[in-house]
Protein backbone atom coordinates (compact mmCIF):
# COMPACT_ATOMS: atom_id res chain seq x y z
CA UNK A 1 0.00 0.00 0.00
CA UNK A 2 1.20 3.48 -0.93
CA UNK A 3 0.61 6.81 0.75
CA UNK A 4 0.50 10.18 -1.00
CA UNK A 5 0.37 13.49 0.90
CA UNK A 6 -0.91 16.68 -0.73
CA UNK A 7 0.68 19.70 0.96
CA UNK A 8 1.68 23.25 0.14
CA UNK A 9 3.50 25.19 2.82
CA UNK A 10 1.31 28.20 2.18
CA UNK A 11 -2.38 27.88 2.93
CA UNK A 12 -5.18 28.31 0.43
CA UNK A 13 -3.32 27.13 -2.67
CA UNK A 14 -5.91 24.48 -3.50
CA UNK A 15 -4.80 21.31 -1.69
CA UNK A 16 -8.30 20.22 -0.75
CA UNK A 17 -9.73 20.94 -4.22
CA UNK A 18 -7.00 18.72 -5.69
CA UNK A 19 -7.61 15.89 -3.23
CA UNK A 20 -11.37 16.00 -3.82
CA UNK A 21 -10.80 15.65 -7.58
CA UNK A 22 -8.24 12.87 -7.30
CA UNK A 23 -10.63 11.05 -4.99
CA UNK A 24 -12.94 10.37 -7.92
CA UNK A 25 -10.22 8.63 -9.94
CA UNK A 26 -8.06 6.98 -7.35
CA UNK A 27 -9.96 4.21 -5.56
CA UNK A 28 -8.02 5.29 -2.49
CA UNK A 29 -8.76 5.72 1.18
CA UNK A 30 -8.85 9.47 1.86
CA UNK A 31 -7.52 11.08 5.02
CA UNK A 32 -8.05 14.74 5.97
CA UNK A 33 -5.15 15.52 8.30
CA UNK A 34 -5.76 19.27 8.47
CA UNK A 35 -7.24 18.55 11.87
CA UNK A 36 -7.67 22.09 13.15
CA UNK A 37 -9.27 23.40 9.97
CA UNK A 38 -10.53 20.39 7.97
CA UNK A 39 -12.52 21.09 4.80
CA UNK A 40 -12.50 17.94 2.67
CA UNK A 41 -15.65 16.61 4.34
CA UNK A 42 -17.56 19.62 2.97
CA UNK A 43 -17.10 18.17 -0.52
CA UNK A 44 -17.17 14.47 0.33
CA UNK A 45 -20.33 14.71 2.48
CA UNK A 46 -19.36 11.68 4.55
CA UNK A 47 -21.77 9.20 6.00
CA UNK A 48 -20.09 8.69 9.38
CA UNK A 49 -19.50 5.08 10.40
CA UNK A 50 -17.49 5.55 13.56
CA UNK A 51 -16.68 8.52 15.81
CA UNK A 52 -13.63 7.78 17.92
CA UNK A 53 -12.85 10.10 20.83
CA UNK A 54 -9.30 11.38 20.90
CA UNK A 55 -7.58 12.22 24.16
CA UNK A 56 -4.71 14.59 23.68
CA UNK A 57 -2.33 15.88 26.29
CA UNK A 58 -3.62 16.18 29.83
CA UNK A 59 -4.20 19.61 31.31
CA UNK A 60 -3.29 20.69 34.83
CA UNK A 61 -6.09 21.63 37.18
CA UNK A 62 -5.53 23.47 40.45
CA UNK A 63 -7.92 22.78 43.33
CA UNK A 64 -8.36 26.27 44.74
CA UNK A 65 -9.56 24.93 48.13
CA UNK A 66 -6.30 23.08 48.68
CA UNK A 67 -4.00 25.64 47.02
CA UNK A 68 -2.00 27.75 49.48
CA UNK A 69 -0.98 30.23 46.76
CA UNK A 70 2.75 29.67 47.24
CA UNK A 71 3.50 30.22 43.55
CA UNK A 72 5.84 27.21 43.19
CA UNK A 73 3.90 25.96 40.16
CA UNK A 74 3.99 29.31 38.41
CA UNK A 75 7.77 29.53 38.88
CA UNK A 76 8.34 25.98 37.61
CA UNK A 77 6.08 26.23 34.54
CA UNK A 78 8.16 26.93 31.43
CA UNK A 79 5.11 27.67 29.31
CA UNK A 80 3.79 30.60 31.37
CA UNK A 81 0.57 28.63 31.66
CA UNK A 82 -0.11 29.52 35.29
CA UNK A 83 -1.12 33.01 36.32
CA UNK A 84 -2.59 34.04 39.67
CA UNK A 85 -2.86 30.41 40.78
CA UNK A 86 -4.96 29.45 37.78
CA UNK A 87 -4.08 27.35 34.75
CA UNK A 88 -4.47 28.94 31.32
CA UNK A 89 -5.75 25.87 29.50
CA UNK A 90 -4.69 27.04 26.03
CA UNK A 91 -1.07 27.45 27.16
CA UNK A 92 -0.71 24.29 29.24
CA UNK A 93 1.44 21.70 27.46
CA UNK A 94 0.46 18.91 29.83
CA UNK A 95 4.04 18.24 30.94
CA UNK A 96 3.16 17.36 34.54
CA UNK A 97 5.81 19.51 36.23
CA UNK A 98 3.38 21.58 38.33
CA UNK A 99 1.90 18.66 40.32
CA UNK A 100 5.50 17.58 40.91
CA UNK A 101 6.45 20.84 42.58
CA UNK A 102 3.18 21.55 44.43
CA UNK A 103 3.87 21.12 48.15
CA UNK A 104 0.21 20.47 49.06
CA UNK A 105 -0.89 18.20 46.18
CA UNK A 106 -3.41 20.74 44.93
CA UNK A 107 -2.75 20.02 41.25
CA UNK A 108 -4.00 17.13 39.21
CA UNK A 109 -3.43 16.30 35.54
CA UNK A 110 -6.79 15.72 33.87
CA UNK A 111 -7.38 13.69 30.75
CA UNK A 112 -9.96 15.12 28.41
CA UNK A 113 -11.43 14.38 25.02
CA UNK A 114 -9.81 17.02 22.82
CA UNK A 115 -10.93 15.88 19.40
CA UNK A 116 -12.35 13.05 17.33
CA UNK A 117 -11.35 10.80 14.50
CA UNK A 118 -14.21 9.94 12.16
CA UNK A 119 -14.40 7.07 9.72
CA UNK A 120 -16.96 7.37 6.97
CA UNK A 121 -18.29 6.14 3.63
CA UNK A 122 -18.35 8.61 0.76
CA UNK A 123 -19.26 8.45 -2.93
CA UNK A 124 -15.52 8.24 -3.65
CA UNK A 125 -14.62 5.56 -1.13
CA UNK A 126 -13.64 5.25 2.51
CA UNK A 127 -12.72 8.43 4.35
CA UNK A 128 -10.99 9.22 7.64
CA UNK A 129 -10.85 12.67 9.12
CA UNK A 130 -9.64 14.18 12.34
CA UNK A 131 -11.29 17.13 14.01
CA UNK A 132 -9.57 18.83 16.89
CA UNK A 133 -11.74 20.65 19.42
CA UNK A 134 -11.52 24.44 18.99
CA UNK A 135 -8.41 25.69 20.76
CA UNK A 136 -7.06 22.27 21.67
CA UNK A 137 -3.49 21.21 21.08
CA UNK A 138 -1.38 18.22 20.11
CA UNK A 139 -2.66 18.24 16.55
CA UNK A 140 0.36 16.24 15.36
CA UNK A 141 -0.65 13.32 17.56
CA UNK A 142 -4.21 13.45 16.23
CA UNK A 143 -2.82 13.34 12.67
CA UNK A 144 -0.89 10.21 13.58
CA UNK A 145 -4.03 8.58 15.00
CA UNK A 146 -6.01 9.47 11.84
CA UNK A 147 -3.28 8.08 9.58
CA UNK A 148 -3.12 4.80 11.54
CA UNK A 149 -6.86 4.47 11.16
CA UNK A 150 -6.58 5.10 7.41
CA UNK A 151 -3.97 2.34 7.08
CA UNK A 152 -6.19 -0.04 9.03
CA UNK A 153 -9.14 0.66 6.73
CA UNK A 154 -7.06 0.46 3.55
CA UNK A 155 -5.81 -2.97 4.64
CA UNK A 156 -9.33 -4.11 5.44
CA UNK A 157 -10.91 -3.02 2.16
CA UNK A 158 -7.83 -3.83 0.09
CA UNK A 159 -7.27 -0.26 -1.13
CA UNK A 160 -3.85 0.14 -2.78
CA UNK A 161 -3.47 3.79 -1.82
CA UNK A 162 -4.09 6.44 0.83
CA UNK A 163 -4.35 10.13 -0.12
CA UNK A 164 -3.63 12.56 2.70
CA UNK A 165 -4.85 16.16 2.71
CA UNK A 166 -2.14 17.89 4.79
CA UNK A 167 -2.37 21.18 6.71
CA UNK A 168 -0.53 24.40 5.81
CA UNK A 169 2.84 25.24 7.33
CA UNK A 170 5.91 23.11 8.04
CA UNK A 171 5.56 22.39 11.77
CA UNK A 172 4.28 19.57 13.94
CA UNK A 173 1.05 18.52 12.11
CA UNK A 174 2.71 18.84 8.69
CA UNK A 175 5.64 16.66 9.71
CA UNK A 176 3.14 14.13 11.08
CA UNK A 177 1.21 14.24 7.77
CA UNK A 178 4.06 13.86 5.27
CA UNK A 179 6.49 11.68 7.24
CA UNK A 180 6.79 8.13 5.86
CA UNK A 181 4.72 8.79 2.77
CA UNK A 182 5.71 7.53 -0.68
CA UNK A 183 5.11 10.83 -2.44
CA UNK A 184 4.50 14.46 -1.60
CA UNK A 185 2.34 16.31 -4.11
CA UNK A 186 3.07 19.97 -3.57
CA UNK A 187 0.45 22.49 -4.69
CA UNK A 188 1.95 25.89 -5.37
CA UNK A 189 0.63 29.17 -6.77
CA UNK A 190 2.75 31.61 -8.78
CA UNK A 191 3.03 34.21 -6.03
CA UNK A 192 6.20 35.35 -4.30
CA UNK A 193 4.75 34.29 -0.96
CA UNK A 194 3.85 30.80 -2.16
CA UNK A 195 7.29 30.32 -3.76
CA UNK A 196 8.98 31.21 -0.48
CA UNK A 197 6.77 28.74 1.38
CA UNK A 198 7.34 26.03 -1.21
CA UNK A 199 11.10 26.27 -0.74
CA UNK A 200 10.73 25.76 3.02
CA UNK A 201 8.36 22.82 2.53
CA UNK A 202 10.85 21.22 0.12
CA UNK A 203 13.53 21.46 2.79
CA UNK A 204 11.22 19.62 5.17
CA UNK A 205 10.50 16.98 2.50
CA UNK A 206 14.25 16.54 1.96
CA UNK A 207 14.85 16.37 5.71
CA UNK A 208 12.35 13.50 5.97
CA UNK A 209 13.45 11.95 2.63
CA UNK A 210 10.08 12.16 0.89
CA UNK A 211 9.93 12.19 -2.94
CA UNK A 212 8.14 15.23 -4.34
CA UNK A 213 6.24 16.32 -7.45
CA UNK A 214 4.55 19.69 -7.95
CA UNK A 215 1.31 21.10 -9.33
CA UNK A 216 1.19 24.80 -10.23
CA UNK A 217 -2.30 26.09 -9.54
CA UNK A 218 -3.59 29.32 -11.14
CA UNK A 219 -0.40 29.34 -13.21
CA UNK A 220 -1.67 32.19 -15.42
CA UNK A 221 -2.01 34.71 -12.54
CA UNK A 222 1.68 35.52 -12.97
CA UNK A 223 3.54 33.67 -15.70
CA UNK A 224 6.93 35.13 -14.71
CA UNK A 225 6.66 33.57 -11.28
CA UNK A 226 5.36 30.35 -12.86
CA UNK A 227 8.54 30.25 -14.93
CA UNK A 228 10.63 30.71 -11.80
CA UNK A 229 8.84 27.82 -10.11
CA UNK A 230 9.42 25.63 -13.17
CA UNK A 231 13.13 26.50 -13.29
CA UNK A 232 13.49 25.97 -9.56
CA UNK A 233 11.79 22.57 -9.69
CA UNK A 234 13.62 21.42 -12.83
CA UNK A 235 16.96 22.28 -11.24
CA UNK A 236 16.07 20.03 -8.32
CA UNK A 237 14.65 17.18 -10.38
CA UNK A 238 11.11 17.83 -9.16
CA UNK A 239 8.61 17.00 -11.87
CA UNK A 240 5.77 19.45 -12.52
CA UNK A 241 2.87 17.04 -13.02
CA UNK A 242 0.34 19.70 -13.92
CA UNK A 243 -0.37 23.37 -14.54
CA UNK A 244 -3.90 24.49 -13.84
CA UNK A 245 -5.27 27.84 -15.07
CA UNK A 246 -7.14 30.24 -12.82
CA UNK A 247 -10.84 29.48 -13.04
CA UNK A 248 -13.80 30.64 -11.01
CA UNK A 249 -15.21 27.17 -11.59
CA UNK A 250 -13.15 25.86 -8.65
CA UNK A 251 -15.04 28.13 -6.26
CA UNK A 252 -18.36 27.46 -7.99
CA UNK A 253 -17.84 23.71 -7.56
CA UNK A 254 -16.93 24.19 -3.89
CA UNK A 255 -20.06 26.27 -3.25
CA UNK A 256 -22.12 23.40 -4.69
CA UNK A 257 -20.29 20.80 -2.61
CA UNK A 258 -18.83 19.15 -5.71
CA UNK A 259 -15.31 18.29 -6.80
CA UNK A 260 -14.09 20.15 -9.87
CA UNK A 261 -14.00 16.82 -11.68
CA UNK A 262 -17.74 16.44 -11.08
CA UNK A 263 -18.53 20.04 -11.97
CA UNK A 264 -16.71 20.75 -15.21
CA UNK A 265 -15.92 18.27 -17.98
CA UNK A 266 -12.82 19.94 -19.41
CA UNK A 267 -11.25 20.59 -16.02
CA UNK A 268 -12.14 16.98 -15.13
CA UNK A 269 -10.10 15.81 -18.09
CA UNK A 270 -7.15 17.94 -16.97
CA UNK A 271 -7.34 16.65 -13.37
CA UNK A 272 -7.53 13.08 -14.65
CA UNK A 273 -4.34 13.53 -16.67
CA UNK A 274 -2.57 14.99 -13.66
CA UNK A 275 -3.75 12.13 -11.50
CA UNK A 276 -2.59 9.51 -13.99
CA UNK A 277 0.88 11.05 -14.00
CA UNK A 278 0.98 11.01 -10.19
CA UNK A 279 -0.12 7.37 -10.17
CA UNK A 280 2.59 6.45 -12.67
CA UNK A 281 5.12 8.26 -10.55
CA UNK A 282 4.14 6.48 -7.35
CA UNK A 283 4.15 3.08 -9.01
CA UNK A 284 7.50 3.78 -10.64
CA UNK A 285 8.97 4.75 -7.28
CA UNK A 286 8.42 1.11 -6.28
CA UNK A 287 11.88 -0.16 -7.12
CA UNK A 288 13.77 2.73 -5.60
CA UNK A 289 11.71 2.36 -2.46
CA UNK A 290 12.26 -1.35 -2.14
CA UNK A 291 15.98 -1.05 -2.67
CA UNK A 292 16.38 1.29 0.32
Amino acid sequence: MKQIAVASGKGGTGKTSMVASFAGFAGAVLADCDVDAPNLHLILKPEVVEKIPYRGMEVAEIDSDTCIECGACERACRFNAIENFRVIGEKCEGCGVCPLVCPVDAIEMKKRVTGHVYTAHTRFGEFVYGLLGAGEEASGKLVTVARKKAVEIAERVGAPLIIIDAPAGIGCPVIASIGNTDLLVMVVEPTMAAVHDMERLLEVAAHFKVNTVAIINKYDINEDVTKRIEDFCTARGIEIVGKIPFSKKFTEAMVRGMSIAEYDASLAEMMKNIWERIEEYVNASDESHNSV
Partner: protein
Protein backbone atom coordinates in the same frame (compact mmCIF):
# COMPACT_ATOMS: atom_id res chain seq x y z
CA UNK B 1 -3.08 48.78 20.73
CA UNK B 2 -2.31 45.16 19.80
CA UNK B 3 -4.26 43.77 16.89
CA UNK B 4 -3.85 40.18 15.71
CA UNK B 5 -4.87 39.27 12.18
CA UNK B 6 -5.90 35.60 12.09
CA UNK B 7 -8.07 33.38 9.92
CA UNK B 8 -8.57 29.68 10.55
CA UNK B 9 -8.34 28.77 6.88
CA UNK B 10 -4.99 29.39 5.20
CA UNK B 11 -4.54 31.64 2.21
CA UNK B 12 -7.51 33.90 2.94
CA UNK B 13 -5.44 37.10 3.05
CA UNK B 14 -4.12 37.55 6.60
CA UNK B 15 -0.77 38.85 5.43
CA UNK B 16 -2.44 41.13 2.87
CA UNK B 17 -4.60 42.72 5.55
CA UNK B 18 -1.80 42.88 8.15
CA UNK B 19 0.75 44.46 5.79
CA UNK B 20 -1.60 46.98 4.20
CA UNK B 21 -3.03 47.98 7.55
CA UNK B 22 0.42 48.38 9.09
CA UNK B 23 1.63 50.50 6.15
CA UNK B 24 -1.45 52.72 6.14
CA UNK B 25 -1.21 53.37 9.88
CA UNK B 26 2.55 53.44 10.44
CA UNK B 27 2.26 50.42 12.73
CA UNK B 28 4.92 47.90 13.74
CA UNK B 29 4.32 44.51 12.16
CA UNK B 30 5.03 41.18 13.87
CA UNK B 31 5.06 38.16 11.55
CA UNK B 32 3.96 35.34 13.84
CA UNK B 33 3.63 32.80 11.01
CA UNK B 34 7.03 31.46 11.97
CA UNK B 35 6.60 28.29 9.90
CA UNK B 36 6.10 30.29 6.71
CA UNK B 37 6.77 34.00 7.31
CA UNK B 38 5.70 36.02 4.26
CA UNK B 39 5.09 39.59 5.40
CA UNK B 40 8.58 40.83 4.55
CA UNK B 41 8.14 39.70 0.95
CA UNK B 42 5.78 42.71 0.74
CA UNK B 43 7.99 45.10 2.74
CA UNK B 44 11.50 44.18 1.57
CA UNK B 45 13.11 45.45 4.74
CA UNK B 46 16.68 44.38 5.37
CA UNK B 47 16.29 41.81 8.14
CA UNK B 48 18.82 41.51 10.89
CA UNK B 49 18.87 38.57 13.29
CA UNK B 50 18.39 39.80 16.85
CA UNK B 51 17.96 36.58 18.78
CA UNK B 52 18.29 32.81 18.62
CA UNK B 53 15.38 30.94 20.15
CA UNK B 54 16.32 27.81 22.04
CA UNK B 55 14.58 25.18 24.05
CA UNK B 56 16.17 23.55 27.05
CA UNK B 57 16.88 19.87 26.42
CA UNK B 58 18.15 17.33 28.92
CA UNK B 59 21.77 16.20 28.89
CA UNK B 60 22.53 12.88 30.54
CA UNK B 61 25.63 12.23 32.64
CA UNK B 62 26.18 8.53 32.03
CA UNK B 63 28.59 8.31 34.99
CA UNK B 64 25.71 9.06 37.31
CA UNK B 65 22.78 7.56 35.39
CA UNK B 66 21.66 4.15 36.67
CA UNK B 67 19.13 3.65 33.83
CA UNK B 68 16.37 3.68 36.43
CA UNK B 69 13.89 5.03 33.83
CA UNK B 70 12.31 7.58 36.18
CA UNK B 71 12.85 10.33 33.58
CA UNK B 72 11.37 8.29 30.73
CA UNK B 73 8.37 7.35 32.85
CA UNK B 74 7.79 10.99 33.70
CA UNK B 75 8.14 12.35 30.17
CA UNK B 76 4.70 12.75 28.63
CA UNK B 77 6.10 13.42 25.18
CA UNK B 78 7.89 10.05 24.90
CA UNK B 79 11.05 12.00 24.18
CA UNK B 80 13.31 9.75 26.28
CA UNK B 81 14.02 6.09 25.58
CA UNK B 82 16.04 4.03 28.04
CA UNK B 83 17.98 1.25 26.33
CA UNK B 84 19.73 -1.68 28.07
CA UNK B 85 22.98 0.25 28.37
CA UNK B 86 22.23 3.75 27.17
CA UNK B 87 19.67 6.52 27.16
CA UNK B 88 18.34 8.26 24.07
CA UNK B 89 16.68 11.62 23.57
CA UNK B 90 14.36 12.46 20.66
CA UNK B 91 14.96 16.20 20.69
CA UNK B 92 12.07 17.16 18.35
CA UNK B 93 9.61 15.62 20.80
CA UNK B 94 11.06 17.35 23.88
CA UNK B 95 9.04 20.35 25.07
CA UNK B 96 11.80 21.58 27.35
CA UNK B 97 9.59 21.37 30.43
CA UNK B 98 12.48 20.40 32.72
CA UNK B 99 10.52 17.66 34.49
CA UNK B 100 13.05 14.89 33.80
CA UNK B 101 15.76 16.81 35.61
CA UNK B 102 13.47 17.24 38.61
CA UNK B 103 12.58 13.56 38.90
CA UNK B 104 16.07 12.15 38.40
CA UNK B 105 17.15 10.69 41.78
CA UNK B 106 20.82 10.63 40.82
CA UNK B 107 21.37 14.20 39.59
CA UNK B 108 22.38 12.73 36.27
CA UNK B 109 20.46 15.27 34.17
CA UNK B 110 21.50 18.79 33.35
CA UNK B 111 20.10 21.01 30.63
CA UNK B 112 21.57 22.40 27.46
CA UNK B 113 20.12 24.74 24.91
CA UNK B 114 19.01 23.53 21.52
CA UNK B 115 18.33 26.16 18.91
CA UNK B 116 14.94 25.82 17.19
CA UNK B 117 14.59 29.16 15.45
CA UNK B 118 15.41 32.83 15.18
CA UNK B 119 13.94 36.30 15.60
CA UNK B 120 14.63 39.02 13.02
CA UNK B 121 14.04 42.75 12.94
CA UNK B 122 13.95 45.05 9.92
CA UNK B 123 13.51 48.75 9.30
CA UNK B 124 11.83 49.81 6.10
CA UNK B 125 8.87 52.03 5.56
CA UNK B 126 7.70 50.50 8.84
CA UNK B 127 9.40 48.29 11.43
CA UNK B 128 8.94 44.55 11.13
CA UNK B 129 9.77 41.73 13.51
CA UNK B 130 9.70 38.17 12.25
CA UNK B 131 10.11 34.75 13.81
CA UNK B 132 11.53 31.81 11.85
CA UNK B 133 11.22 28.13 12.78
CA UNK B 134 14.15 25.96 11.76
CA UNK B 135 13.22 23.40 9.12
CA UNK B 136 12.48 20.01 10.66
CA UNK B 137 11.50 21.46 14.02
CA UNK B 138 7.95 20.84 15.19
CA UNK B 139 7.31 23.48 17.84
CA UNK B 140 6.38 26.90 16.52
CA UNK B 141 4.77 28.21 19.71
CA UNK B 142 7.95 28.98 21.72
CA UNK B 143 9.19 31.18 18.86
CA UNK B 144 5.93 33.11 18.66
CA UNK B 145 6.01 33.59 22.40
CA UNK B 146 9.59 35.01 22.22
CA UNK B 147 8.64 37.23 19.29
CA UNK B 148 5.76 38.70 21.27
CA UNK B 149 8.19 40.01 23.89
CA UNK B 150 9.16 42.68 21.37
CA UNK B 151 5.59 43.94 21.11
CA UNK B 152 5.44 47.56 22.15
CA UNK B 153 2.44 48.29 24.37
CA UNK B 154 2.38 51.97 23.47
CA UNK B 155 2.37 52.12 19.67
CA UNK B 156 0.19 50.32 17.17
CA UNK B 157 1.25 46.68 16.89
CA UNK B 158 -0.15 44.38 14.24
CA UNK B 159 0.47 40.65 14.59
CA UNK B 160 0.13 38.43 11.52
CA UNK B 161 -0.97 35.03 12.86
CA UNK B 162 -0.27 31.61 11.35
CA UNK B 163 -3.15 29.74 9.65
CA UNK B 164 -5.20 27.13 11.41
CA UNK B 165 -6.86 26.98 14.77
CA UNK B 166 -4.12 25.19 16.66
CA UNK B 167 -1.68 26.25 19.36
CA UNK B 168 0.48 28.56 17.21
CA UNK B 169 -2.56 30.60 16.10
CA UNK B 170 -3.84 30.81 19.66
CA UNK B 171 -0.44 31.91 20.95
CA UNK B 172 -0.48 34.75 18.39
CA UNK B 173 -3.96 35.89 19.49
CA UNK B 174 -3.40 35.57 23.22
CA UNK B 175 -3.18 38.95 24.96
CA UNK B 176 -4.33 41.00 21.95
CA UNK B 177 -6.74 43.90 22.32
CA UNK B 178 -8.55 42.97 19.14
CA UNK B 179 -8.58 40.12 16.62
CA UNK B 180 -9.38 40.62 12.94
CA UNK B 181 -10.51 37.35 11.34
CA UNK B 182 -9.88 37.35 7.60
CA UNK B 183 -12.04 34.97 5.63
CA UNK B 184 -13.19 34.28 2.10
CA UNK B 185 -16.86 33.97 1.16
CA UNK B 186 -16.81 30.22 0.47
CA UNK B 187 -17.98 27.11 2.35
CA UNK B 188 -14.34 26.35 3.31
CA UNK B 189 -13.81 29.91 4.55
CA UNK B 190 -17.04 29.82 6.56
CA UNK B 191 -16.35 26.43 8.11
CA UNK B 192 -12.92 27.48 9.41
CA UNK B 193 -14.17 30.94 10.42
CA UNK B 194 -16.70 29.34 12.75
CA UNK B 195 -13.93 27.41 14.53
CA UNK B 196 -11.84 30.59 14.81
CA UNK B 197 -14.82 32.49 16.25
CA UNK B 198 -15.25 29.81 18.92
CA UNK B 199 -11.62 30.28 19.93
CA UNK B 200 -11.65 34.09 19.98
CA UNK B 201 -14.81 33.98 22.10
CA UNK B 202 -13.12 31.53 24.49
CA UNK B 203 -10.19 33.95 24.77
CA UNK B 204 -12.73 36.78 25.36
CA UNK B 205 -11.07 39.14 22.86
CA UNK B 206 -13.21 41.60 20.86
CA UNK B 207 -13.16 40.72 17.17
CA UNK B 208 -14.51 41.49 13.73
CA UNK B 209 -14.34 39.98 10.26
CA UNK B 210 -12.72 41.12 7.00
CA UNK B 211 -14.06 39.39 3.90
CA UNK B 212 -11.41 39.00 1.23
CA UNK B 213 -12.10 38.09 -2.44
CA UNK B 214 -15.61 39.39 -1.95
CA UNK B 215 -17.80 38.27 -4.84
CA UNK B 216 -16.20 34.91 -5.64
CA UNK B 217 -18.35 32.58 -3.58
CA UNK B 218 -21.69 32.69 -1.82
CA UNK B 219 -23.57 34.61 0.86
CA UNK B 220 -22.85 32.15 3.68
CA UNK B 221 -20.21 34.18 5.51
CA UNK B 222 -22.22 37.39 5.50
CA UNK B 223 -25.37 35.60 6.64
CA UNK B 224 -23.43 33.94 9.46
CA UNK B 225 -21.90 37.24 10.61
CA UNK B 226 -25.33 38.90 10.55
CA UNK B 227 -26.93 36.09 12.57
CA UNK B 228 -24.10 36.07 15.10
CA UNK B 229 -23.91 39.86 15.38
CA UNK B 230 -20.26 39.87 14.23
CA UNK B 231 -19.20 43.15 12.60
CA UNK B 232 -17.93 42.89 9.02
CA UNK B 233 -15.20 45.53 9.12
CA UNK B 234 -14.14 45.53 5.48
CA UNK B 235 -14.79 43.76 2.19
CA UNK B 236 -11.92 43.45 -0.27
CA UNK B 237 -13.33 42.65 -3.69
CA UNK B 238 -11.92 39.89 -5.85
CA UNK B 239 -10.25 41.51 -8.79
CA UNK B 240 -7.37 40.52 -10.97
CA UNK B 241 -5.37 43.69 -10.26
CA UNK B 242 -5.20 42.93 -6.52
CA UNK B 243 -4.34 39.27 -7.24
CA UNK B 244 -1.55 40.21 -9.64
CA UNK B 245 -0.07 42.79 -7.23
CA UNK B 246 -0.17 40.15 -4.52
CA UNK B 247 1.61 37.64 -6.74
CA UNK B 248 4.44 40.15 -7.28
CA UNK B 249 4.70 40.92 -3.57
CA UNK B 250 3.39 44.49 -3.84
CA UNK B 251 1.06 45.80 -1.10
CA UNK B 252 -1.99 47.20 -2.87
CA UNK B 253 -2.35 50.31 -0.66
CA UNK B 254 0.69 51.54 -2.59
CA UNK B 255 -0.81 51.06 -6.02
CA UNK B 256 -4.56 51.34 -5.89
CA UNK B 257 -6.07 54.70 -4.97
CA UNK B 258 -8.36 54.97 -2.00
CA UNK B 259 -7.23 51.87 -0.10
CA UNK B 260 -4.78 53.63 2.21
CA UNK B 261 -7.68 55.62 3.63
CA UNK B 262 -9.82 52.48 3.96
CA UNK B 263 -7.12 50.83 6.07
CA UNK B 264 -6.81 53.96 8.23
CA UNK B 265 -10.58 53.81 8.72
CA UNK B 266 -10.31 50.10 9.51
CA UNK B 267 -7.82 50.82 12.28
CA UNK B 268 -9.97 53.60 13.65
CA UNK B 269 -13.05 51.38 13.65
CA UNK B 270 -11.09 48.71 15.53
CA UNK B 271 -9.67 51.21 18.03
CA UNK B 272 -13.26 52.50 18.58
Amino acid sequence: MKITVASGKGGTGKTTVAVNMALANGATLYDCDVEEPNANIFLNAELEKIEDVSLMNPLFDMNRCTLCKKCAEFCRYNAIAVLPSDIMLFPELCSGCGGCKMVCPHEAISEGERKIGEIYRGEGEITIYQGLLNVGEARATPIISRLKRYVDDNGISILDAPPGNGCPAIEAMHGSDFVILVTEPTPFGLHDLKIAVTIVRKLAIPFGVVINRHGIGDEGVERYCREEGIPVLMKIPYNREIAVLYSKGVPFVKEIQGWRKKFVDLYEAVAE
